[in-house]
């Protein structure tokens, strides 16, 4: 492993992109017709809501917490989008803003009372699920036309999911990795004491991160409804586990504020593709979820190998 030119840091940073490239390349090889505008659109459509949910989870993981409620939260916002936002847009918008405020309040509560975020979000997952059932007792509803229009938009040359993913990744990257306050926010996960001594409010940072998670979770719900055109209270429950997996797959760590927005979006895309990968291999689609687990394990194993080679130096 000690070859000249092998740079562990670079390898670790490139690992998420490489795994996405390998999966995409294999799909192209197996089914060349996917290498088209239409094919890519179809393959990556569902990656948009998952990527947004993964970004939401990333904000929480960045401050060393974990959000077990993101799946039911996305379901709830999807239900709002398919009912209130469609019927009475202003009321729907108010409800979504209310959701973000609840998220911000959770961040404050968790910080002030020093609560384990896992348990608070666990409780919230029941709350969101119940609220979703109240809003939409049976699957149905209808997406606002502007929303399904946006998600079904066919821009020239480059398919919409790819543009959307790049825009999301770049905006968050600039905001969190380049901006001065972004560094403070990440510092809260890395060394909260140092951030506090430097005169920054930890409370404000936590509220900001949770509010951001609320915003992006809501965007995920909107994107999902725009794609499926109707909603259901259980529509996004799998997103909780998928979003955690996406953050980790993209090179994020559980503690220390080490996250990567670009990696998270790539991780979400990889997981989405892993689901459809099997049908191209003509393997049993029963293993769809298993393939996502297997890819997660393989990438984590590769990361261990890279870390070891780094330690050996």
């Amino acid at each position: 492993m000690n070859r000249i030119g092998f740079n562990p840091r670079l390898a670790r940073a490139l690992l998420p992109a490489l795994s996405l490239a390998v999966i995409l390349g294999t799909i192209f090889y197996l089914q060349p017709r996917t290498m088209s505008y239409f094919g890519l659109n179809l393959l990556l459509n569902l990656a948009i809501p998952i990527a947004l949910a993964t970004i939401a989870q990333m904000f929480i993981i960045c401050v060393n917490d974990l959000d077990l409620s993101i799946g039911s939260y996305v379901s709830f916002t999807a239900c709002i989008a398919a009912t209130l936002l469609h019927d009475t847009p202003l009321l729907g918008l108010a409800a979504l803003i209310g959701c973000v405020i609840v998220y911000a309040a959770l961040g404050a509560l968790i910080h002030i009372r020093n609560l384990p975020a896992i348990v608070v979000t666990l409780g919230m997952s029941f709350v969101w699920m119940g609220a979703a059932i109240l809003v939409l007792p049976t699957p149905g509803g209808e997406a606002p036309t502007w929303l399904s229009g946006l998600m079904g938009w066919d821009p020239p040359y480059v398919p919409f999911p790819i543009i959307a993913s790049i825009v999301i990744a770049v905006i968050i990257h600039i905001g969190l990795m380049w901006s001065p306050y972004g560094a403070v926010l990440r510092g809260v996960g890395g060394n909260p004491k140092a951030v506090q001594r430097a005169g920054w409010s930890l409370l404000r940072a936590k509220i900001t991160m949770y509010a951001l998670a609320g915003v992006f979770g809501a965007l995920a719900g909107l994107a999902l409804v725009g794609l499926t055109t109707s909603a259901d209270a259980n529509i996004a429950l799998r997103y909780t586990l998928l979003s955690i997996a996406g953050v980790i797959l993209g090179g994020g760590e559980f503690v220390g504020g080490r996250v990567s927005p670009i990696g998270a979006v790539i991780g979400a895309m990889t997981l989405t593709l892993a689901g459809s990968f099997l049908s191209f291999l003509r393997l049993n689609p029963d293993w769809q979820i298993g393939a996502q687990g297997a890819i997660l394990i393989i990438v984590l194993a590769l990361r261990v190998l890279i870390n070891r080679s780094e330690a050996r130096r």
Binding site: L66, L68, L109, I112, R113, N114, L115, P116, I118, V119, V120, L122, G123, M124, S125, F126, V127, W128, M129, G130, A131, A132, I133, L134, P137, L241, I244, A245, I248, F254, N284, D286, W287, Q288, I289, G290, A291, Q292, G293, A294, L296, I297, L300, A301, V304
Partner: protein
């Protein structure tokens, strides 16, 4: 110092009492609404369904007590896989009941060993290891099941619903198991080691505790309890379903937390698990008798979990 230890003492004795008080209060609430009718039936049903919650929660509690980052997310998938494989192996034949149980236990053992292998080899937080393995385990169950619902052997399903004086036999067995596990947690080297690792892994290691061995046993135990629960739940509900474990992902953690175990690890307790299991079921029953739908029921469940954790916390102490 002295005051501190009194404070700690209160913290130890109180948490699990609350779950029983809450369960009793909820039961009284139901009785007040129905005018005292069907109190015995409600309790008997609570014991029946509480059994399944308590069984997986015992395993989850040991895992969570190991410290931050330790949560077994593969419990629902393990339950589903063990239930599915066992039902298919037995194929409704009474003679195969012990074989089915052995198969279910072996499934649990395999998942537990797999989980620990991932934790050890990949050096990833257990929550991610069990998350990734749960994907694979769930897929295996889907593949094995093929959409069929195999009925459990008659003797086994009779056993799963059998009662002595209104008390389900399974509940008695799991109460006995809880007593044993309480002794294991508080009196044996293994149980003390789990607590020690959860309080301070490095100190435990320096004190000569084989940390990895303790973690191995804990994860295998959790998976085996989940598998056992899947076996009996499938027998109880007339066959294995692919979503049978779903609600246990969050519920198993909820029961542990409401039962007074510290989520930060290091302070576990078994009695509270039964109190919390009964409470969760009685709460659902109470809201049902009040005529509330699934929505308000879930919202109240969530609100109670948050209230419990807020009440158990203090703003000053750092985790």
């Amino acid at each position: 110092m002295n005051q501190n230890s009194i404070g700690l003492r209160r913290y130890f004795t109180r948490p699990w009492i609350w779950s029983y008080l809450a369960a009793a209060g909820t039961w009284l609430g139901i009785m007040a609404f129905t005018g005292g009718q069907g109190g015995g039936e409600v309790l008997s049903a609570a014991l029946t369904f509480g059994t399944f919650f308590a069984l997986v929660a015992i395993g989850q509690m040991f895992v969570i007590t190991l410290g931050p980052g330790n949560v077994d997310l593969s419990i629902p998938a393990t339950m589903t896989l063990a239930g599915t494989i066992a039902m298919k192996t037995m194929d409704g034949s009474d003679a195969m009941i012990p074989v089915g149980l052995a198969v279910a236990l072996a499934t649990g053992l395999a998942v537990g060993v797999g989980n620990f292998a991932l934790i050890l080899l990949l050096r990833i937080p257990p929550i991610i290891a069990t998350l990734s393995s749960s994907f694979i385990v769930q897929s295996t169950a889907i593949w094995w099941n093929r959409g069929l619902r195999v009925r459990p052997p008659e003797t086994l399903s009779d056993f799963a619903v059998a009662q002595i004086f209104g008390v389900p036999i399974l509940a008695i067995l799991v109460i006995l198991l809880a007593i044993i596990m309480h002794i294991v947690l508080t009196r044996t080297v293994f149980g003390r080691s789990v607590t020690a690792v959860g309080q301070n892994q490095r100190a435990a290691y320096l004190a000569g505790i084989k940390v990895e061995q303790v973690r191995f046993k804990t994860y295998v135990m959790s998976a085996i309890f989940a598998a056992t629960c899947g076996y009996f739940l499938a027998a109880f509900s007339g066959g294995a379903a692919l979503n049978m474990g779903q609600e246990y992902l969050l519920s198993s953690i909820a029961v542990v937390v409401i039962g007074g175990t510290s989520v930060a690890g290091g302070f576990g307790n078994v009695p509270g698990l039964w109190g919390a299991s009964l409470f969760l079921f009685l709460l659902v029953t109470m809201l049902n008798t009040f005529g509330l739908g699934a929505g308000p029921r879930l919202i109240l469940t969530g609100a109670i979990i948050i209230l419990v954790i807020v009440a158990a916390s203090s703003p000053k102490s750092r985790r």
